[in-house]
């Protein structure tokens, strides 16, 4: 087999894609291009163990599979553009690489707040460098920390900061409860109480209007005029897909890159997308394409996309079943864990306690049209084990109709 597969993005999705191309039988060349200086590493510990000073880079690095030992890694190299009609990608070092198959695995970057004020002292958490930089500031004596955004990463950072002994940690969000967007009110309230009991303060229902300070941030100005004194600010207000390099190819890049039900993009059988950047329809649900920013998705998408791509490249036919992963995610905050299976967000209008109670360990079911579409456990191991029981049921449920 001759030819070259190029993977753009050298994080978890890129690594899994390279490995799965080999697993699917591709024996041609594989080049992975990534703009970070590191080999692929595991991101979830960045907002937890890395911030807490409990993990080294060595403990985060993935160990590539032996079958992928001959993959060429072009690290510290950015892809500036793709010319899909010519099957060429242009690198920032001036080189252009021709490919036979292309995998898009460029993931996300943090969204930044665009309001007035100094930049110094304001952090985001996406890369190892980000987490290390933030750690140094969190460990300053008596740092006053304001976390903007009460989503997963904001809540994890706030919990880690309290664990580090930071005395003043305030989470700001225009919404009324933490994580209410993905999880709804019942768990939002349960989370709020747990965080407050452990010393995290909240300023909810208020957006950020600006930052105070000359050279570096000294305060966060809320929409209602309140000023929260701050030495360190963490912005965790969502993410933006890294898709600029794909523009001018007539693709739908409105939120990540749109794929078909087999993860191909732009109607091209030789171009697929994996990981956080892929906006794909999930045959398990309603056919609406969505991006899914969960850790399990790079691996799931890579398996499917690599098979689709290799089948095309070797000229074999045989249609595969459409992609229908069961989304799963977890989040560790203080000493408790959230564990989710399915798509709670699709059943947020009908939320019921399945087991336990929100004051302690609890298992919550999300339904639509009477059908269970997601379960989330909050608490200790017992709750998570309970959720696992429902996982089988979720896997067997009939697909939702549009």
């Amino acid at each position: 087999m001759t030819g070259r597969a190029v993977v753009v993005g050298a994080s978890m999705g890129g690594l899994r894609a390279a490995e799965q191309l080999r697993a699917a039988g591709w024996t041609g060349a594989i080049t992975v291009v990534g703009d970070e200086p590191h080999m692929p590493y595991n991101r979830p510990p960045l907002s937890k163990e890395v911030l807490a000073g409990k993990a080294s880079f060595e403990s985060l690095a993935f160990t590539p599979k032996a079958a992928a030992a001959d993959v060429e890694w072009r690290l510290g190299t950015k892809v500036l553009a793709a010319r899909l009609d010519e099957r060429i990608v242009d690198l920032d070092d001036g080189e252009a690489i021709r490919y036979d198959g292309l995998v898009v695995a460029t993931g996300m970057r943090p969204r930044r707040l665009r309001c007035p004020g100094p930049l110094a002292g304001r952090h985001t958490v996406r890369t190892l460098a980000d987490a290390q930089g933030l750690r140094d500031e969190l460990t300053r004596p008596d740092a006053r920390v304001v976390v903007v955004g009460a989503g997963f990463i904001g809540c994890e950072v706030a919990a880690t900061a309290i664990g580090l002994g930071v005395r003043e940690v305030t989470v700001v969000d225009p919404l009324p409860l933490p994580m209410v967007g993905p999880l709804g009110e019942l768990l939002g309230r349960a989370l709020l109480r747990r965080h407050e009991e452990r010393g995290v303060r909240f300023a909810l229902g208020a957006g950020v209007a600006g930052f105070e300070g000359e050279d570096r941030v000294t305060g966060v100005v809320l929409g209602d005029g309140t000023v929260l004194p701050a030495d360190v600010v963490v912005e965790s207000v969502g993410s933006i897909a890294n898709v600029e390099w794909l523009q001018d190819n007539g693709l739908d890049l409105s939120d990540g890159v749109l794929t078909d039900e087999r993860l191909r993009i732009g109607g091209r059988p030789e171009v697929v997308a994996v990981g956080d950047v892929a906006r794909f329809p999930n045959a398990r649900y309603d056919g609406v394409p969505r991006r899914v920013e969960h850790w399990s998705i790079p691996t799931d998408t890579a398996k499917h996309a690599a098979k689709v791509l290799v089948t095309h490249l070797v000229g074999a036919d045989g249609e595969m079943a459409p992609f229908a992963p069961l989304p799963t995610f977890w989040s560790d905050q203080h000493e408790f864990r959230l564990q989710s299976f399915g798509a709670p967000v699709l059943g947020k209008d009908d939320v019921r306690v399945l087991d336990g109670d929100p004051e302690g360990d609890v298992l919550v079911g999300y339904h639509t049209g009477g059908q269970l579409v997601g379960v989330v456990a909050l608490g200790g191991q017992a709750a998570a084990t309970g959720a696992a029981r429902y996982r089988a049921q979720l896997l067997k449920s009939p697909a939702l109709t549009a």
Partner: protein
Amino acid sequence: MKVVVDMNKCQDHGQCVFAAPDVFSMDGDGHLVYVAGPGEELRDEVEEAADVCPLQAIRIEG
């Protein structure tokens, strides 16, 4: 095939139990137990389990 789990890393997520139920399970306290020398016919399952471990704590030797 030899399976090694770094128990210092393991946080009992249980994802490996779904991927390779013949090799990994949870004991009554919700802690991981596993078969260290599973048969070769289980290799695909075990590789899947290693992939889905959030802590990347599972290693396959040989």
